[in-house]
């Protein structure tokens, strides 16, 4: 090799052109590339295998001769995804794969194409009670604006990233970084984001978020008041009063509506902070990493002396945080001062239940995109009919075999959970825009009715014969099988 080339240049021997391919680039054919110094075929077309269990997620399919024993195709059902299918160029030609397969006696057609989406983005749901930043503030990656903070939802903060304005509306570097960020998030990689006047977070689909360097573990079951409502019955009779400590709304059983309905007696308890409605208190302490997202480590600091008019010696009090991770049990002495005691057996269960109802904190990444007219034209000669067919549920939309939620209203605007798609299902073009797989599945006669490219329909067996560019994956255990014929007028 001439010494002018960097050391990790590889020479491709797939054809006599014998390209020298630099790291991160492809050869003259665009089919072989240098990935981390290795010569790799870059366009495998992914097929999904229906399997009962997730098992080993990846089964090589003739990627190298002799690796594959030929078992899978014979026994199981196969769904052709759009990953690596390539886009039609231009799109008003029929999509690259229009595949028919007979499922439970119904002729199904799947139209498989990779869409180029410059109208696309991701919605992030970050499970955390921590304040990530003011609503509407910019979210940045590598210093470039890539999205904004949107609403706080139950136990989580939503971020909206991407969209056409960041992708193509800003300067070049903003578009490039946005595209990179979306691509990484959609392909399950970790991304670092900073929020103007807010936190820095590290997020990846399906993994716990890391906020300012601290990993989130659990979501709370509800605010303190909600927790009182949920567990009041389980506490009644076993304890005289319960305080659920929460930075947002601290709840008190004896004053709370739920306690009143059960006939819980007044206890004379007095709480620091601002009373909102009976049994609900704001600002019992400062935000922090102590009990229930407050800065306290000793819960008694939020209590004022019990009112002697109502309290009584041996009064039983449970204090617990919204995640059940912290708890303490007290009984009042003769001077009506709380004295910590061991948690009685009868209360252990309810504390444990709070804890078990706190789900693991995760980041969820939903890809959102719209199938434009030309993409739809790859499916049918009359694009609007596809929209109509999708809206009437005659056509099912999947992304790499994962179910997609279709927004009501015009067009085919969809959202999909990227963790249910095969690995590295997304690509990009330098426009910049994301390349995402999209499959439309419908009955063959419905396809003909909507003006589909019926002449281009190929039997599944035919597609499977083109082994050289295919990869077989086991389908995600939670995904409904894309070809299951429960859709349409005759559906069950």
């Amino acid at each position: 090799m001439p010494d002018v080339f960097p050391p990790d240049t590889v020479r491709c021997d797939a054809c006599p052109v014998l390209c020298y391919i630099k790291r991160g680039h492809a050869g003259a054919c665009d089919r072989y590339a240098n990935v981390e110094g290795e010569l790799v075929r870059v366009d495998p077309h992914i097929l999904l295998d229906r399997a009962k269990s997730q098992g080993t997620p990846l089964v090589p399919f003739l990627e190298r001769e002799g690796d594959w024993d030929g078992k899978i195709l014979k026994g199981q059902e196969t769904f052709v995804t759009a990953i690596g299918a390539g886009t039609t160029y231009p799109d008003y030609k029929p999509a690259p794969f229009i595949v028919s397969s007979e499922v439970e006696g119904v002729d199904m057609v799947t139209v498989v194409t990779e869409g180029i989406f410059s109208y696309c983005g991701v919605k992030l749901k970050i499970d955390t009670d921590r304040h990530l930043g003011p609503e509407r503030n910019l979210v940045r990656a590598q210093g470039e604006p890539v999205g904004h903070v949107t609403t706080a939802e139950y136990g989580s903060q939503m971020l909206s990233l991407g969209g056409v304005h960041h992708l193509t509306g800003g300067n070049k570097s903003e578009g490039r970084v946005t595209c990179e960020t979306l691509l990484d998030l959609c392909n399950g990689r970790e991304v670092e984001l900073t929020i103007d006047e807010g936190a820095s977070v590290r997020v990846a689909a399906g993994r716990p978020p890391v906020v300012n360097g601290q990993r989130e573990e659990r979501m709370r079951v509800g605010c303190g008041s909600a927790t009182i409502g949920m567990f009041a019955k389980q506490w009644f009779g076993k304890v005289d009063d319960v305080v659920v400590v929460d930075d947002h709304i601290t709840g008190v059983l004896s004053e709370h509506q739920a306690g009143k309905l059960l006939g819980v007696r007044e206890t004379g308890i007095a709480i620091q902070g601002r009373r909102s409605t009976p049994g609900r208190y704001f600002q019992v302490a400062e935000p922090g990493t102590g009990w229930g997202g407050t800065n306290i480590s000793d819960p008694l600091t939020i209590l004022k002396p019990f009112k002697t008019k109502f309290a009584w010696p041996h009064l039983r009090l449970l204090m617990v945080s919204t995640t059940g991770e912290q708890f303490a049990y007290y009984e009042l002495d003769d001077a009506l001062r709380p004295v910590e005691k061991e948690l009685p057996e009868a209360l252990k269960e309810s504390v444990g239940r709070i804890r078990e109802n706190c789900e693991p904190a995760l980041t969820s990444v939903l890809f959102m995109g719209g199938a434009g007219g030309s993409l739809r034209a790859g499916v049918t000669e009359n694009p609007v009919k596809l929209t109509d067919s999708v809206k009437r549920k005659l056509t099912r939309v999947t992304c790499g075999g994962a179910p997609a939620y279709i927004w009501p209203g015009g067009g085919i605007t969809f959202m999909v959970d990227v963790t249910r798609m095969p690995e590295n299902a997304f690509g990009y073009v330098p426009t910049p825009a994301l390349v995402a797989p999209i499959e439309f599945t419908l009955k063959k006669n419905d396809y003909a009715l909507l003006g589909g490219h019926v002449d281009y329909v190929r039997p599944l067996a035919d597609v499977l014969k083109e082994k050289e560019r295919q990869r077989q994956l086991v389908s995600h255990a939670q995904n409904p099988w894309p070809l299951k014929p429960h859709i349409g007028s005759s559906g069950s």
Binding site: P16, C19, H25, D30, T87, Y89, P90, K172, S374, T431
Partner: protein, 297 residues
């Protein structure tokens, strides 16, 4: 490991697909069924050795073509050289600028010699060689952005026109361009001539030293590129109307000159939604822009 060439019919049963290394051809012939199958067989036979032939002379084909210099020996290579020869004194050009069109042309020729066809085309990734007999015609759509497909124009070619080749070049395409056109489509007497001319006109649609244009030495992207250290276009920021017109003007001047010399028949030049067409005034076949592009331009 050398991959064997792929020879197959496309699922529609009408078109032939030939693939070998970087060459990917879609072929369709019309005529008597027996003639069509004879033509397809001839195409496949010719195809299997074509890449090896070219690769034997690859270093020569990747170097600046010069008159009176050593000429390549292979039939396809000679065609490539002849196609770029008219430009080699004014500009840096290598025979590789005409490789796609020349391969398409050679395959088409192999088909029309043994079989009598009504019409046929060999499409080599957008560089197309066509054959038309008698009163047969082809209707052809034109796209300005390969990555954002939408048809902006179309044209009809009949047997009576001298056009037998169509080629498109642009910085977004698979081959490198020194210019900033999204696409330059050229109609010419042969696919190899169209291919070379599209490259030359594409290079001329340019705004030298414009800060909004990202250029990278070709060798940094493709280690053995024939363009060596020449800066190839990798990104173009949105341009103002006057900038687009300036870039198109410089391309149109070159296209007009090539048309006057008889090297091309007509050409459509596209940049960021603006299109200019260079064609003879009374041409029976010329590129028509659709109303969509008129809205833009």
């Amino acid at each position: 490991m050398r991959e064997p060439a792929l020879i197959r019919m496309l699922p529609d049963g009408r078109r032939l697909h030939l693939h070998d290394g970087p060459i990917d051809l879609i072929i369709e012939a019309n005529g008597e069924p027996r003639a069509v199958s004879a033509a397809y067989e001839a195409a496949a036979r010719r195809f299997v050795s074509i890449l090896d032939e070219l690769c034997e002379e690859l270093p020569l084909l990747r170097s600046h073509a010069r008159k009176n210099a050593k000429r390549p020996r292979g039939a396809v290579a000679e065609r490539m050289f002849a196609a770029v020869e008219p430009y080699c004194e004014q500009t840096f050009i290598t025979p590789m600028a005409a490789v796609a069109g020349s391969v398409a042309e050679a395959i088409l020729e192999s088909m029309t010699v043994p079989a009598t066809l009504e019409r046929a085309y060999v499409n080599n990734g957008g560089d197309i060689a066509i054959h038309l007999a008698d009163s047969h015609r082809y209707k052809i759509g034109i796209v300005e952005r390969p990555d954002r497909p939408s048809l902006f124009g179309f044209l009809e070619i009949s047997a009576a026109d001298s056009i037998r080749g169509i080629a498109t070049s642009g910085w977004r395409g698979r081959s490198f361009s020194l210019g900033i056109a999204d696409a330059v489509t050229v109609l010419a007497d042969s696919a190899s001539a169209a291919d070379a001319a599209a490259t030359v006109i594409g290079n001329a649609v340019n705004l030298p030293d414009h800060p909004g244009v990202t250029r990278i030495p070709a060798r940094e992207i493709s280690a053995d590129s024939d363009l060596g250290d020449l800066p190839v276009t990798r990104g173009v920021e949105p341009l103002s109307c006057s900038e687009m017109f300036a870039a198109l003007d410089s391309g149109v001047r070159v296209a007009e000159a090539l048309r006057a010399q008889g090297l091309i028949h007509s050409s459509a030049l596209c940049i960021q939604g603006h299109t200019r067409v260079v064609s003879p005034s009374h041409a029976p076949a010329s590129i028509e822009s659709s109303p969509r592009s008129l809205l833009h331009g």
